[in-house]
Amino acid sequence: MTAAEVRSPSAAPAAPARWPTPPGVRLAWLHWRSRRVPAAVLALAVCGGVLRAALEWGWLFKTGHFAQEFPMIVEGGAAAVLVITTHSPFGEAERTASRWLPYLRLGTALAMTGMAIGIIQLCVTGASLDGGILVMARNVLGVTGIGLLSSLVTGGLLAWILPMGYIAFAEYALLQSWTNPWTWPVRPPTDRGAWLCACLVFGIGLAAFTIRGARTRLAEDG
């Protein structure tokens, strides 16, 4: 090697390939990837598949008062899975650098909730799910709200604990035939109070999460 070779300028780095989609879409996609949304969708599909298998192979009571036991666990589980996507791997740096973050959080939470409902409904189509899509959607909405609120305290990675705790409690409420609207998983599909409570919890959780975002410290310490 000679000095001339060292002095000669190296070849210019190749220009980055131009992204074929608008920057907003790319931003959303990168945000979703950082939250492991594709993996979450896969996990939701697993939840839906398990529910379908249970309906097909008779792992649950198909009719009667206890027919909601198994679907409730899966629907609550799906909500617990989707709130994991609230965790940010970037923490404080992202909060200070991105002014679009609240909108991305809002969009992601709404999209994931919709996807959870859609995927589960797709999986159980034609399998006579007790309560139908109304109860399933109400359960996913309400439990997601609990998870979003929980993520403000525990962080996204541990936000599954409280939703699962609520589902365990709802199982007891189902066995005891509770009628309080805040035990919405055990109420009939058209119960107005149950819908109100579930939507209220989801709305509060969504608003709080949009504004503040999930906590990062506790989950990182765990």
Binding site: C47, V74, Y172
Partner: protein, 510 residues
């Protein structure tokens, strides 16, 4: 030097315990225990075996999923943070770190579980009038919690990721539910493998009272769950070997340590053997006098009745119960005295009422009936009214304070009078004829109780057994009840045999 060397793992364990994430979940587990398990058990009769069943049903459903999820969270820590390479250079092997993390997780889970067990047992001890705390349910419950945790830990260690913990928790939830669903469907003569389920049915109200509960099933469950646990620990020990490619297998064994590999294989083999043996044993289970018996594990001596001195109360009709049900005795005796006074002097009138075994090994829904067990009703010489704790209308179930009401008393009296009017119990003769119903109704009214309901007289399509409507029965009962006590008594004395034989019609009642 030795002391210092021994204290190091203990120090690591102490650090893990102090910073364990399970500690944050203890309030949630305690709240779930209170709302679900403790409130449920408070509704059970204060009988040790019945109350201790919550340790392996509700409490496992509360603890199991969280044990699996939290253990998976702890185990996936290194993989989640991608610190595997960093920690590989430390002086301690991977299994030592994992063992400490698992130990800390189990420490908090078991401490919480045992504290909840203590709460259940203390509450039971304050109310129970006979017997002592059974220990097998504690052993089964502890092993089940450990198994859930080890399953979650293994999943977390092998597949680290942010979704592993919630999916492990959901899996634990569903596993407990599917097992419970399968266990409820177990019937004699069919496959009995589902008895190994972590959650099983609540036993009958007098389980362990008249006969000892054989530990056969508990032994099989501990062996099965313990086998799974030991096998998974072996799998965890061998995990570093699995991570290398086939060509590097020998290098992997060398790196993990030859003796460690031998230990891992031994643990895996022992676990699989124990679980398989327990599975095979569960398949041979058959209903016994107090639960399920497994012939290979069964001790015939445990089938002997438990000796006891009955508690009795009542003057017109002594009512005797097993001491475990002493708290129900005042209500039972008070309910039967006026009814017995109405029957006094009649042929076949009972001279004593006695609580007998339910005669079922497990829940009625499993359809188990044992030949030779006394059936509720009036029988024997001198006649004795045998009743059981699983009486559908007035069961000796729940808090004894709940029996202090008119509805319970009326139910108890109706069953007693129906048993007397129907005569000695016979198979398939549980439905009273219209004339028998009218007489029972009249006697109930005479002692100041509300008119009974005989819903069982109706068939599914609304037709009435015996060709009489409820209105006709009520009219006949009113007619019979309007007689003077002496006339009613005399008529019953003269026509009791025909009444019991079912040959009397409503029109033949005075």
């Amino acid at each position: 030097m030795t002391a210092v060397a021994l204290s190091r793992p203990a120090r690591v364990l102490r650090i893990e315990i102090r910073r364990s994430v399970v500690l944050w979940s203890v309030p949630l587990l305690a709240a779930l225990f209170f709302f679900d398990s403790f409130r449920t058990v408070s509704g059970f009769a204060p009988v040790w075996t019945v109350r201790s069943s919550v340790l392996t049903t509700n409490m496992i459903e509360d603890f199991g999923p969280f044990a699996a999820g939290l253990a998976a969270w702890v185990a996936s820590r290194e993989g989640r943070r991608k610190t595997g390479d960093l920690l590989a250079a430390t002086s301690r092997p991977a299994w030592a770190r994992q063992l400490c993390a698992l130990g800390a997780t189990l420490f908090w889970l078991l401490a919480t579980y045992l504290a909840c067990v203590a709460a259940v047992y203390i509450d039971t001890a304050l109310q129970a009038t006979w017997g002592g705390p059974p220990l097998w349910p504690i052993a089964v419950g502890v092993v089940e919690v450990v198994t859930f945790a080890v399953i979650g830990f293994t999943v977390g260690a092998l597949f680290p990721g942010r979704f592993t913990a919630p999916l492990a928790a959901i899996g634990g939830f569903l596993l407990a539910f599917i097992g419970y669903h399968a266990a409820l469907g177990v019937q004699p003569g069919m496959s009995t493998y589902a008895l190994l389920s972590p959650s099983t049915a609540v036993p009958l109200g007098d389980a362990g009272v008249f006969y000892h509960v054989a530990p056969d099933l508990a032994i099989a469950q501990v062996m099965f769950m313990g086998g799974i646990t030991v096998g998974l620990l072996g799998l965890l020990t061998l995990a570093p070997v699995f991570r290398v490619s086939y060509r590097g297998l020998l290098a992997g064994i060398s790196r993990a340590g030859r003796w460690l590999c031998v230990a891992g294989v031994a643990l895996l083999a022992a676990g699989v053997a124990a679980a398989a043996t327990a599975f095979a044993l569960a398949g041979t289970a058959k209903p016994g006098v107090s639960g399920w018996d497994i012939p290979a594990l069964h001790d015939a001596a445990s089938d002997q009745p438990v000796p006891y001195t009955p508690d009795c109360a009542g003057i017109a009709l002594p009512v005797c119960v097993q001491p475990a049900f002493s708290a129900f005795l005042p209500a039972a005796a008070a309910a039967l005295q006026p009814a017995a006074a109405e029957l006094k002097g009649l042929p076949g009138a009972p001279v004593r009422a006695e609580l007998v075994s339910d005669g079922n090994g497990t829940r009625n829904t499993q359809g188990m009936l044992f030949a030779g067990m006394p059936k509720p009703g009036v029988s024997g010489a001198p006649p004795v009214y045998n009743f059981n704790s699983d009486n559908g209308m007035a069961p000796l179930w729940g808090s004894p304070a709940g029996t202090d009401n008119a509805g319970w008393r009326a139910g108890f009296q109706q069953v007693f009078l129906s048993a007397f009017v129907a005569g000695p119990p016979q198979a398939g003769a549980d439905i009273l004829t219209p004339a028998q119903q009218a007489v029972v109704t009249a006697l109930m009214t005479a002692i100041g109780s509300p008119a009974p309901q005989f819903d069982e007289a109706f068939t599914g399509n609304g037709q009435v057994v015996g060709g009489a409507t409820q209105a006709q029965i009520a009219a006949a009962a009113q007619r019979f009840g309007s007689l003077s006590p002496a006339a009613r008594h005399a008529w019953l004395a003269a026509h009791l045999t025909a009444l019991r034989a079912g040959t009397l019609t409503l029109n033949q009642l005075p």
